[in-house]
Symmetry: C2
């Protein structure tokens, strides 16, 4: 049995602090973010990451994974806080809150800390504004065995509640880097790496394109796509077929279609004929 | 110059009617839905569909496509309504509303009205709860030249504002059908059609699976996936590689990866070698 603190009031300073982490400005100032749910927190623990603070609903059901989590946080010197269900709902801003949430320190997002040869595929998003799309890109990156997601220029915050939720735990397994386009292209060209984007012009069929590892798959803004200068800087422009009236896919979908194609090209599966 | 009505007050019955269409219950009762934005409405017009009512902000900028749209709606006997920007914002529920919106009659969504041989690929969603995912599935369907999206059991409403938005116009180009699982499987088995789902067990690599047209790609609920009985009823179960910690993709992403694979298998592109 570990030591727990209990909190009941909505006006408690800790409750205010936790609520403030739903706001980008406060997350940035504090360097912390919130992840909710036993599954997500267990993913984090299995990836070697523990929350600095574990917040549990007093109405939660017992679960062996929750016991393990509580013990691990406590052993590591973290805080374990208990609060009523309605206070926790205020913190997470959901009508049916998960019974548990954790506060984590934001990760190092310096480009220089990435080892580009750690994975054959990296996802790169330029000015992606939708946090749900960012989280989905992280989840797809985990699925294809990508190294991480590199966020260029004015992207949404990967540590937002929506992004963390949509990542389904990949926030803890994928590396995340943030940089300007000019910082990124300078870093990329200082080593190995093929920059690839989907494009409608001067492009190779995405099914037969010569992908090379480490392969950096660049996806653009949801409504504007990629600026032409960024397309021009790519080593490879590939075309995804468009058989209907529209000329583009959802940005996270386009990234996933490219990522699975690159995965197949870079690690061909054994085929039976 | 066509005849226009002007509306200024928030309490006007028409404004209340339009606002009510943001609610599923009211959409269903009225059999109408709202689509916003000149681009979307122009997509509809080019697909042969006109709104019964066109609503424009009095602060809009002139645009030749808007003139054409207004003339077409008026010629077809539809209503053209002008309202102030703040009233239109109330109607569409956005801070930065599009300058124009249209009210459409919901389409026939009877399974029996589909011609299964009209397209090589059909997307099928079971209990998909996220309207954004539904809209993204429609958009992906348009891109791969699918015939439409079939919604089984307890899905989100494809005519919701979020779904229509996420579809980026595909709501007007893709057929939409709604049915229970038992109705669907009876209809499917009464004719040609291969039912395919992503699965983790007893499955073929999705890159070398024998897709056959008309190919029905079945995607499950966002958190539960597909019930085993539905997987068992499939003609083909395929595996999408999972190289990370997670064992699933976002539902709309999984659907898109399968759809692009089926597209390539069913309509192989010319390859130079």
């Amino acid at each position: 049995m570990t030591h727990r603190r209990s909190i009941t009031g909505f006006s408690n300073p800790l409750v205010k602090f936790l609520r403030s982490l739903r706001d980008k400005k406060h997350r940035k100032r504090e360097g912390k973010f919130i992840a909710e749910g036993l599954r997500l927190l267990t993913d984090a623990r299995l990836s070697g990451l523990l929350p600095e603070m574990l917040v549990m609903s007093s109405g939660r059901e017992d679960h062996p994974l929750l016991d393990e989590l509580e013990r691990a946080v406590s052993d590591a010197g973290g805080d374990v806080i208990e609060m009523s269900e309605d206070v926790l709902a205020k913190v997470t801003g959901k009508e049916n809150p998960q019974a548990v949430a954790g506060v984590f320190a934001e990760f190092d997002t310096a480009l220089a800390s990435l080892d580009r040869n750690a994975a054959p595929i990296w996802l790169v998003a330029h000015a992606m504004r939708d946090p749900g799309n960012l989280g989905t890109m992280l989840r797809t990156g985990d699925a294809v065995g990508a190294g991480g997601l590199i966020l260029l220029d004015d992207c949404a915050d990967p540590f937002s509640v929506q992004s963390v939720r949509a990542s389904m735990g990949a926030i803890f397994t994928q590396r995340i880097a943030r940089a300007s386009w000019s910082e990124f292209i300078a870093w990329l060209r200082a080593g190995e790496g093929q920059l690839v984007a989907a494009s409608l012009r001067d492009a190779t069929d995405y099914r037969s394109a010569p992908y090379r590892a480490p392969c950096f798959l660049l996806v653009g803004n949801e409504s504007q796509g990629l600026p032409q200068a960024l397309e021009d800087a790519c080593d490879l422009r590939v075309t995804i077929p468009m058989r209907g009236r529209a000329d583009s896919l959802n940005a996270a979908i386009a990234g996933a279609v490219l990522a699975y194609e690159a995965l197949a090209a870079l690690t061909p599966p054994p085929r039976t004929k």
